[in-house]
Amino acid sequence: MKYVIQVNEGPYNHEASTSALNFVRAALDAGHEVFRVFFYHDGVNNGTRYTTPPQDDLNIVNTWSELASKHELDLVVCVAAAQRRGIVDEGEQSRNGKDGNNIAPGFRISGLGQLIEGCVQADRLMVFGD
């Protein structure tokens, strides 16, 4: 089965992102395809490399980055949601005149069309959030 995943909550306030990670790992292990993971609402906060949890805490952002690198996952952060919440890549930095960027490795910023396209292309959408 070809999945598209939507993550609607940030990494630490809510279990949604961890559940999505576990689901993606299990789906890949079972031989399914993950077409795209789309981060929306506060879910965009999963995509900042400045996240620095205590050492005995799971670094959820790094876990996404590592999983993306290992399985060539397409991790997409919604641009409109990211702009509201201060998630910035080099392109957004230059477009909006910011003094830096914070996008984590393996993530890219793009539009909501990426979510819709994922829904069209995939067999099933899985939404993680409240």
Binding site: Q6, H41, R84, I116, C119, L125, V127
Partner: protein
């Protein structure tokens, strides 16, 4: 992308207090460009999203309810509201925005977009949808 799927946007939350309602509407508007078969459903506190006479002047937050009236222009013609959710809140369809679309198969006659359905009918609609985006 020639295949058309049935998209159901399920709106469950009050319009203000959290950003879900507004960011859901943003997905609907962007998604309209993909020419899919789109339905919206409003359940639980989500029914407040399409109430008439919203005034956010005391909140300092944009009143985005006029945007729902533009949905007809985006070819969104099917808007379902769960009867049980209306009943539980003492609301009727008269309390909701008068949402219309123009039916191109009927000489562009203006028709009501909103249809009140039971929880059972809504469950069936969800079951029949290819994609359910839940907000």
């Amino acid at each position: 992308m020639s295949d058309v799927k049935n998209f159901l946007y399920l709106n469950r939350r009050a319009p203000y207090g959290t950003v879900y309602a507004w960011e859901s509407l943003e997905v609907v508007l962007i998604g309209a460009a993909f020419e899919q078969d789109v339905s919206l459903a409003f359940v639980d506190d989500g029914v407040y999203q399409i109430m008439k006479g919203q005034d956010t002047s005391g909140l300092g937050i944009k009143n985005f309810s006029p945007t729902y009236s533009a949905l007809g222009d985006y070819d969104v013609q099917k808007i379902y509201v769960e009867k049980e959710s209306l009943d539980a809140r003492g609301l009727t369809v008269e309390d909701l925005l008068d949402l219309k679309y123009e039916d191109e198969d009927d000489d562009w006659a203006e028709k009501d977009s909103i249809k009140v359905v039971s929880a059972e009918e809504l469950a069936k609609l969800m079951d029949e949808s290819d994609v359910v985006l839940s907000f």
